[in-house]
Assembly symmetry: C2
Homo-oligomer: 414 residues x 2
């Protein structure tokens, strides 16, 4: 088999940890597999470098910042290659420009355009383990670029896609993806197999263990992703194309997003184009809007409510008051906001073929006297905005109510 | 003018120091010059990285070690470029592979083969200061290489040669090259101008402020080198082609090398080829031999004495006893050594046209009752091996005796 293994910063956080990584790579290679290893910077290193940068410079979307922060992974690949050799194996490191991880020129958040797999295959042919720097690439002018936080996951899956690998193993400090945050619900269960689509919807859970772009890439190229811990041999969570079995599991996970805020615009004229007028200036300011709900009144006006990332809320309100004619200078406060909210969601591909999930979710929340402020649904997800203070209570109620503490085949009814 | 400025690790040892470097680069650029800056790793950084390497690996002549240690300069160029921009200038960083500092593949001690000056000239044309990583290059296969300790000086002079620069300024933490070590002789004087050849002979002084290979490169390509401090605007020492004036100065400097050891091989058969037999195995073991003196006896035998770096002495003696037929297994100890020696030298291009320097040197040492063990001379240098304990005494006697505490034009007689 051809196996790509990606190790995060904690897994390569010290020389001893690197030796453990080397031992695992080598054990895999000695089973007869070709192994490419993608590594992150040693934990703490990227922050150390960014601290130096911040003494000089605010804007991180900068060519020179990428020159600086990409060194973290460069040090890691050299050391891991040495560790593999010290353990008796053969290894060779590759930087972004050496295996031509070509990206666009969007510094600090570049997207991969192509990868030249030949140098890596040459290393395999020479019996070497290829140790590849995560997070970094190079644009067509030879400038060094980086892929954004967590970008090493994306490198791992992209390398796996380019090589046609059988699996991309993502090693991290947790042992898989859980039905919800085990810190909130101690009975949360590790999920054995999950579809790419569910994983994308579980973003707020998954982002902690797997960068979302890497899941999109995995889905696009059909790369099986295995999220697992580097501290044991236990299998983790497989993220794979949707399988027939999966539909039997109605709800796969419960998530909560706590970093959003709610904005309501009142008394808008209920004419076509009003929503466009509202959201155009926000889009221009690069503020992403989620969960848009419109309530039509019967007096020719309408209310619009939506959520934005909490860090953008202040700026969003200012822009709306300044730029939207309906909201400018009229009497009374027309732009209201609430920072004290959160969004709880239940996710599952089984929802497509099961009615009644929404009803049950609303009942479970009502059972705890939690008021629902906004609702939005997709084919495989239902999200409710509720008061921030109920976040943990709501998660526990939903996790318990949908039977997620039980093994999938023991969950009964709705 | 086109000016190359090279800053050492101390000069870029902190963000504040980098800001000072940026201010100086920018001031030079604002005088209307094109400026290329070559920077070292922040002081301490290369050692930090080598410490990580040493936990895994002994041999530093390794592809992966160069991948790791070259990151020190990579961080520096990014930060210095940001510092120049923060001060209102325009700057762009260049890594070894970006301005194609092509080298051979001798990892950890690579030699520069060629430089592509076009990307740097393009930066000048765009009004940018080019900030170039010292110490690193790339071989024809795209592997990262490094030039050895102090290699950033070599990068600086090589860049100056490639660009046809008017001067290569080497900024360091001392303000120039002195007639001798000011810590030993407080009246030592800063030398204003010195020839490449003298600078090469003053290696043991110069190595502290200027890597010898950079002087060789400067001599080969006629690049004027200005060694100066980054802590003031005071002019330092110019290293330039020999000038008519220089001959008037009979002795330019006094040096002492304390890291050598003396080996004597006794009772060698006095036949042709004996010296070759002696030194061939040492050369094979990469041990460099200096100050070879042969004393012919009248009984058909001969003695050979020479010096080696002290760190290689033990190995050298073992190799000689094992490999040289004349020295193998015969009665009595035939290989003697002494670690407690040093080599004092006086250097000056004026020696070519002045007789009597050697005589005066011997008299000055005799005046302090210092016994001379070995003598070797070149056209512009006389070196004597003496007991280690007399090192400072000898340096003071010679420095004083040749009037080096006085300005060059006030030094009289011999």
């Amino acid at each position: 088999m051809l196996i790509v293994q990606k190790y995060g910063g904690t897994s390569v956080g010290s020389i001893d940890r690197m030796k453990a990584v080397a031992a695992r790579c080598l054990a895999t290679a000695r089973e007869g597999h070709s192994v490419a290893v993608v590594v992150s910077a040693m934990s703490g290193e990227t922050n150390r470098l960014l601290k130096l940068v911040n003494e000089l410079h605010d804007d991180l979307n900068d060519r020179e910042v990428d020159v600086i922060v990409s060194t973290g992974e460069q040090v890691s690949v050299g050391l891991v290659a040495l560790a593999i050799r010290a353990a008796g194996g053969k290894a060779r490191s590759f930087l972004g420009h050496q295996c031509k991880i070509m990206t666009d020129s969007a510094f600090s958040r570049a997207r991969i355009v192509s990868i030249d797999s030949k140098p890596i295959k040459d290393a395999f042919a020479a019996g070497e383990i290829a140790v590849i720097a995560g997070f970094q690439g190079v644009d067509e002018k030879g400038n060094i670029t980086t892929l954004g936080r967590g970008g090493s996951d994306t490198t791992g899956v992209a390398i796996a896609a380019a090589l046609g690998a059988d699996v991309c193993e993502i090693y991290t400090d947790v042992d898989g993806v859980y039905t919800t945050d085990p810190n909130v619900v101690p009975t949360a269960r590790k999920i054995d197999r999950i579809s790419y689509e569910e994983m994308l919807e579980l973003a707020s859970l998954g982002a902690k263990v797997l960068q979302i772009r890497s899941v999109e890439l995995g889905m696009k190229y059909g790369v099986p992703i295995h999220v697992r811990t580097s501290f044991s041999d236990a299998p983790g969570t497989w993220v794979v194309p949707e399988e027939a079995d999966m539909e039997k599991v109605v709800v796969s996970g419960v998530t909560v997003a706590k970093d959003e805020a709610k904005i309501t615009c009142k008394d808008l004229s209920d004419t076509s184009g009003v929503a466009g007028k509202l959201f155009a200036p926000l889009a221009d300011a690069n503020i992403s809007v989620d969960m848009i709900v419109q309530n039509q009144a019967y007096d020719g006006t309408t209310d619009l409510t939506f959520t934005v990332p909490r860090g953008d809320r202040k700026r969003a309100v200012e822009i709306l008051k300044e730029k939207v004619p309906d909201l400018v200078g009229t009497g009374g406060e027309k732009v209201l906001f609430d920072d004290e909210i959160c969004k709880v969601s239940v996710v599952g591909v089984g929802m497509r073929s099961h009615a009644g999930i929404a009803k049950k979710m609303f009942q479970l929340l009502a059972g705890e006297n939690i008021n629902i402020q906004l609702i939005s649904t997709s084919e495989i997800k239902i999200s409710c905005v509720i008061a921030h203070k109920y976040a943990e209570l709501a998660v526990r109620a939903l996790h318990d109510g949908f039977g997620l503490s039980l093994p999938p085949n023991e969950r009964t009814g709705l």
